[in-house]
């Protein structure tokens, strides 16, 4: 194998792929990146067996071939190299010489035969979505997935593909995020449960202007644009009936300036309990009061003006759940709708100039007596 590539090209390719390389693994070859030189250029691939990322960068290939190289070291070396041509040649089966200007490195690789093959996903039958739509969905929804191992299904994002729209839903059982985006190029109907880590890769690897082709096999999902591909394992099992828990009759509706409520929650949240992060919200016409009382720590009160003319209501929330949602709301004002102190509250953007529809909901905290 013998090829020349610019430092920038190689760096870009490695950055895309390196994120899928596991930091800790029991299978040593997974810490490596598969480097394949051919007439098409230089293909770089990495995987942690759950997610695989592969991309091609332009290179002048003199002699095709392939090898795997330690990802971390390769990335570090390329990062430190000056902006110039990098010449890579194999010396023997697994030894690689890397030269750039007067810098020379010799790296030991692992045979490419040990590198796992990528999941067989046939792109013949595929959906087509814009990367911009996908990024919007991922960016607003995937945060809400659960990190607890007890219910693996909630560790994934539900992705519903329909004739005229696609929707992502994620929840950890305490809060939920849901977004719909209209679709023009219809494909077949599907419900996929995708690990958020894979979606993060998709968000990172593809540019906002890309048109992405998506295809599935039985257990895997593939994303493709040009020569760049992302594959992920799908999470199996039925997703809980989220529609049933989205309240329809929340009639106590407050319209609130997003930054103002976020600042207030952050302020009083300082003295909230480390375990429950509880903040109490008291709504009365025109006013929202915040109070925190944490035994052994202290108390805090705050107040902001809001637009609200419903009955007074007091409701307790985990401050972190509120902040996570508020942070992602795409408008200056948000609408917070409630029904009762022990029922789910919904948060939605107000006056969002976008074809997408976004809704989050959060369950309150309750005092055990």
């Amino acid at each position: 194998m013998k090829f020349t590539v610019t430092r920038e090209q190689l760096h870009e390719g490695l950055t895309a792929v390196a994120a899928s390389v596991p930091t800790k693994t029991t299978l040593p070859v997974l810490s490596n990146i598969l480097v394949e030189a051919s007439d098409d250029g230089l293909r770089l691939s990495g995987t942690d067996l759950d997610i695989a990322v592969s991309t091609v960068v332009a290179a002048e290939v003199d002699e095709p071939g392939s090898v795997t190289l330690p990802a971390k070291k390769l990335v570090e070396i390329v990062r430190e190299l000056p902006s110039a041509a990098i010449r890579i040649t194999t010396a023997g089966e697994q030894r690689v010489n890397l030269e750039c200007g007067r810098s020379k490195f010799r790296l030991l690789g692992v045979s490419k035969d040990e590198f796992p093959s990528f999941p067989p996903v046939d792109f013949e039958d595929h959906w087509k979505v814009t990367s911009a739509d996908l990024q919007k969905l991922i960016g607003h929804v995937s945060f809400a997935t659960s990190t607890e191992e007890s219910r693996p299904i909630l560790n994934g994002v539900l992705w519903e593909l329909r004739a005229d729209r696609m929707r992502m839903v994620a929840t950890n059982g305490h809060r939920l995020a849901k977004m719909d985006v209209p679709l023009t190029s219809a494909g077949s109907t599907a419900d996929l449960i995708v690990p958020p880590k894979a979606l993060d890769q998709v968000k990172k690897v593809f540019g906002p202007a890309d048109e992405i082709e998506i295809a599935r096999s039985e257990n895997h999902l593939g994303f493709r644009c040009g020569a760049t591909r992302v594959f992920t394992r799908l999470i199996e099992g039925p997703y809980p009936n989220y529609d049933q828990v989205i309240p329809k009759g929340n009639d106590r509706i407050a319209t609130i300036d997003r930054q103002t409520i976020m600042s207030a929650v952050r302020r009083v949240g300082v003295v909230a309990s480390d375990q429950t992060h509880r903040v109490r919200l008291s709504f009365s016409p025109g006013t929202l009061q915040f109070s925190v009382n944490t035994p052994d720590l202290g108390e805090a009160q705050d107040e902001i003006s809001i637009s609200y003319d419903g009955d007074a209501i007091e409701i307790g929330f985990n401050a972190n759940y509120l902040l996570e949602i508020l942070k992602l709301m795409p408008t200056d004002e948000v609408q917070l709708a409630m029904q009762a102190p022990e029922r789910a509250a919904t948060i939605e953007p107000v006056g969002w100039d976008d074809p997408a529809a976004y809704l989050c909901l959060v369950m309150p905290l309750r005092l055990v007596d």
């Binding site: 607890e148 989220y242 509880r278 309750r366």
Partner: protein
């Protein structure tokens, strides 16, 4: 430091407590046996809870399988543990000790820390004299011999109590006078100091510290450089007998547990799970009785070869209802069994990080189905109903269907 400024702490430690109680309960039987083993059964099952000093001379130790103990000491008599009497006498001892100081901390069934600081006006400045008085009164009123150690910290009192034991030719009291702490610590091997375990000793040996004397030569900064900030500072104080922990009267329960050694080793997973559920239900009921909730659960297995393994997990929110506790206990047991599937002689479950049940904030869930580690209203109501039944009819009043033995057909 002036003697009157320093703490005056005693540790009263019963001499072979279970043996003494067993003898008091049965003066004609166990009371006449010199070679006495308490715990397990004469056919060699179970483990030794305690043994008479005469039997200990044969190498019998507590927590040893009774079968092994009988091989070492064939002439010994084995009697069961008189649990009820042990608890009663322990309480009686505590009441007597509280006459000497309001600050009595029960460290175990037969060990009591007594903070005597500030009692000089009442009992005189001689701690040895006071300790002798305490010993005399406890022996007279309960029939139980105690050894008492004393010093300026709980750590010193604990080590001194070991030196006070009568079988070591002492008269049952050993007091480390203020100022003599370091001299006293020099008498000990590193591994004899509480909380310095075999692993730590190994680590100390690797860095060239074989005994207290060598360790005393290092200053605090050197210790920190060798073992890190926290351990270094702690160890520096430890080997000087310094221990800031206070005698805590009425210390709350740190954990509650339920465990059992089986009559025969159990290999069958279904059988183990059945036992575990019974233990879990009991310990959950104990937690509820104390109006507490637990944050952490541990399952312990001791295999036939005495290797012991433990698995723990933490609940997202504190719980006390049967369902989440039993479910998590099963998960932990399965994890342990997956790692090693050998016959089991002992199984136990414990709940810790206990906090008062009321006033806790609970995150409500979106989905009606219960999540791991979260108890639903239904769970709480159900557990309360079970508690009401057991209060009236005892623990056998209501049991899981799996615990019911199938009735033999006529």
């Amino acid at each position: 430091m002036d003697a009157f400024d320093s703490k005056r702490i005693l540790l009263a430690d019963a001499d072979a407590f279970f043996v003494s109680v067993a003898r008091l309960v049965d003066p004609e039987g166990a009371g006449r046996k010199k070679l006495l083993i308490v715990g397990g059964s004469p056919d060699g099952r179970g483990v030794v809870t305690s043994a008479s000093y005469e039997a200990r001379a044969y190498g019998v130790r507590s927590a040893m399988p009774t079968g092994k103990a009988l091989k070492l000491c064939p002439g010994a008599t084995v009697v069961g543990v008189p649990r009820k009497e042990c608890v009663e006498r322990s309480k009686a001892v505590r009441v007597i000790l509280q006459d000497f100081s309001p600050s009595v901390e029960q460290a175990s069934i037969d060990e009591f820390y007594i903070d005597m600081s500030g009692t000089e006006g009442l009992f005189g400045p001689d701690l040895k004299f006071t300790a002798d008085e305490i010993r005399k009164r406890v022996l007279e009123e309960t029939g139980l011999p105690f050894s008492i150690g004393g010093g300026t910290s709980k750590l010193l009192a604990k080590l001194a109590a070991q030196r006070a034991k009568p079988h070591l030719d002492n008269d049952g009291v050993y007091i480390v006078a203020p100022g003599d702490e370091i001299e006293f610590m020099r008498l000990h091997r590193l591994g004899e100091i509480p909380l310095i375990g075999p692993k730590f000793v190994e680590r100390l040996e690797k860095i060239g510290l074989q005994n207290v004397e060598q360790a005393l030569r290092l200053d605090a900064d050197a210790m920190v450089a060798l073992m890190g900030e926290r351990t270094g500072r702690w160890f520096y104080r430890r080997i000087r007998g310094l221990d800031a922990s206070r005698v805590r009267a009425g210390r709350p329960n740190k954990s509650l547990s339920h465990e059992g050694t089986f009559a025969r080793d159990i290999s069958n997973d279904a059988e183990l799970e059945k036992r575990l559920l019974a233990f879990s239900t009991r310990v959950a009921a104990d937690v509820r009785k104390k109006r507490m909730k637990a944050k952490t659960i541990s399952v312990k297995i001791r295999y036939h070869d005495f290797k012991t393994r433990q698995a723990n997990s933490t609940f997202t929110y504190p719980v006390s209802a049967d369902r989440p506790i039993c479910e998590e206990a099963l998960t932990l047991l399965r994890r342990l069994r997956k790692a090693r599937n050998a016959p089991v002689r002992l199984l136990g479950v414990s709940l810790s990080h206990l906090n008062p049940a009321t006033g806790e904030w609970q995150q409500l869930g979106l989905f009606g189905d219960p999540e791991k580690g979260m108890e639903t209203d239904h769970d709480i109501v159900l557990s309360k109903a079970v508690d009401n039944i057991t209060t009236k009819f005892g623990h056998k009043g209501i049991v899981r269907a799996t615990e019911v033995k199938p009735r033999e057909k006529d």
